[in-house]
Amino acid sequence: MEQHRSHIYGVMAEFDTPEQLIHAVEKARAAGYHRMDAYTPFPVEGVAHALGLKRNHVPLITLLGGLAGGLGGFYFQYWANVASFPENIGGRPLNSWPAFIPVTFEMTVLGAALCAVFGMLALNRLPQPHHPVFNVKRFVHATSDRFYLCIEARDPKFHLMETLRFLQGLQPHHVSEVTDA
């Protein structure tokens, strides 16, 4: 039994509508499952909440990126004009701070934007070419018109037969095992 289970990543139920999915997730949570994930062709309001996802770290990373870009941008201009290579430009003072603002702003936005995107990808562990769920033939509909709930084998409460039976109970369109290889 044990070694047999080791090949299983989880079991997956396919639903037709977002509502069914949300309903299923709530049921599963109520049934005490925790290690599960849902897959949708577009962001569905409520699923994340049902899965108990709270805040994520993307905004924080973005903030830090913006601060770094802005402070770095201004400091660099200050350093270049006052310390590194001071020059008399049209009689303006070396630290013509008003003239440094536009670049500072642009650097803020650039830093924040880069951190937002690459932060998001990093937290999502993307790019990730392969994943067990792709082994499910029908999973191609996950990017089109179907909604999936996958209860993973890592879940302490996970038991292949029972979990299958549990999912069957949610009137899914279809249920399938998800194997590692």
Binding site: D37, T40, V47, Q77, P102, V109, A113, A142, T143
Partner: protein, 459 residues
């Protein structure tokens, strides 16, 4: 749903002009849009259009090659008119490049559902317009091969760019804008690339789209972070898009040339940018929906709204013109007064009146509901507005320079063949990129359309 909805989007209007044709399901939108890229055979029209635009791109390449061989002297510029077509086109393209990010970002933040079906190619248009714009600041320099002096790199002489110069601000603003627009566009594309990956029939397409999709599998955890990232990008892009044309307007406002040195420039450059940007979106959307039968996705409501935005921004621009004059007269500054006189009676006055006609008078027809809903008329109007905005930049950049402070140095400007070749060439380049885009990428965001299906089905 109704929370972010402006009053204009009242239920009956929505019934009259829906943002999405009736009877669409998640599957149908997916198939409809992805089929354009995956299954639909390439039409002869596409080949013809691509060939033509490719031809003009070739012309641009030749023009730029000759420029590098001979020097900017092949253009019509001179002393005192140091900036000619190159800068006019640069500002014009950058302006066009505004609508895309604006539609995506600002309308996204305002939760305007009708943006969904136009934001994708609007963003693409932005990228291509910025690409065209980016060409000019580089090639207009006397020594393009030295253009890297404008970037902050540790040079052997320990020199840095001169950060007081608006041109350096341009370098940062435009490159930042280009980067962020690209990220924004790509992030939006990821789920659709995944769709294409899963629907692709040929191995090659599966691999290519698969790589680009980064292994997206629609996990809700991913969607969760994805949405906050997309929201943040929108939030960042909004001030950015406003800042870019503000910075571009500084190229002129910071200088002391009469006709440039005006505080009104930043707001009215931005308004003008959005104006021309939406005009260009219309000029692209109308043929596109016709060619690929996307009337269900790009509905009259979209065209109507964009026409309204054009009307509004057009009025802001008109206000800008008026205020420019008013300030000149009010200030009593003799140089500004002279400028007003030049605009109205000078050797180039016909350009000025032409731009008033194109940018202010004709667009007023958009007040009419009937005309707003006449597609052909809208198309022509969008072209007129683009022409008008080009003329505006010509009047500001060139004509202000012809007669500035020192009468003994006054001059005139006449573009040469090479000026025209470069200009039309970039237009060809722009169109060519669009042709490629509609062929290989979903011109409409499928994922967001599904959202739209979900929402509309709720009602």
């Amino acid at each position: 749903m109704s929370a972010g909805q402006p009053p204009i989007d009242s239920p009956e209007i929505r019934r009259l002009t829906p943002v999405l044709g009736p009877g669409h399901t998640f599957g149908s939108v997916t198939d409809k849009i992805s089929s354009i890229v995956l299954t639909r055979p390439t039409s002869y029209g596409w080949y013809a259009g691509f060939a033509l635009s490719f031809g003009f791109t070739g012309l641009m390449t030749i023009a730029i090659g000759w420029l590098f061989i001979k020097g900017v002297g092949i253009w019509g510029i001179n002393i005192p008119i140091g900036w000619g077509f190159a800068i006019v086109n640069f500002v014009w393209w950058i302006g066009i490049g505004h609508a895309g990010t604006l539609i995506s970002a600002i309308l996204f933040l305002l939760n305007q559902k009708w943006r969904t079906s136009i934001n994708r190619f609007a963003e693409a248009m932005t990228l291509f317009a910025v690409a065209c714009a980016g060409i000019f600041p580089l090639i207009h320099t006397g020594r393009p091969w030295m253009a890297f002096y404008m970037f902050p790199y540790p040079s052997t002489m320990g020199l840095w760019p001169q950060f007081r110069s608006p041109l350096i601000w341009d370098v940062f603003a435009v490159s930042t804008y280009g980067t962020v627009s690209l990220l924004f566009w790509f992030v939006g594309l990821i789920p659709d690339l995944a769709t294409l990956r899963d629907h692709a029939t040929s191995k090659a397409k599966q691999i290519i789209y698969g790589m680009l999709a980064l292994g997206w599998r629609g996990s809700v955890r991913h969607w969760h972070r994805y949405q906050s990232a997309y929201l943040l990008l929108a939030g960042l892009a909004t001030p950015l898009v406003l800042s870019v044309h503000t910075v571009v307007s500084f190229d002129f406002a910071i200088a002391i040339v009469p006709g440039w040195h005006t505080t009104i420039f930043p707001p009215y450059f931005v308004a003008g940018a959005i104006y021309s940007g939406f005009a260009m979106v219309l000029s692209i959307a109308i043929p596109l929906r016709k060619a690929y039968g996307l009337e269900d996705f790009i509905t009259m409501r979209h065209l109507d709204n964009m026409a309204k935005v054009m009307l509004a921004t057009g009025l802001i621009v008109a206000y800008g013109y008026f205020f420019e004059f008013f300030l000149s007269l009010y200030s009593g500054n003799k140089f500004d007064l002279f400028l007003v006189q030049q605009r109205l009676h000078g050797p180039y006055s016909h350009f000025y009146f032409a731009l008033i006609l194109c940018n202010i008078l004709l667009p007023q027809t958009l007040w009419s509901y009937k005309l707003r809903h006449n597609v052909a008329f809208l198309f022509i109007m969008s072209l007129i507005v683009n022409t008008g905005m080009w003329l505006e930049r010509f009047v500001i950049v060139v004509i202000s320079l012809t007669r500035d402070f020192t009468p003994s140095a006054w001059g005139r400007y006449q573009p040469t063949f090479w000026d025209w070749a470069t200009f039309t060439g970039t237009i060809g380049f722009f169109v060519m990129l669009l042709f490629l885009f509609v062929r290989v990428l979903p011109a409409i965001s499928i994922a967001e359309m599904r959202e739209l299906v979900a929402e509309t089905s709720e009602e």
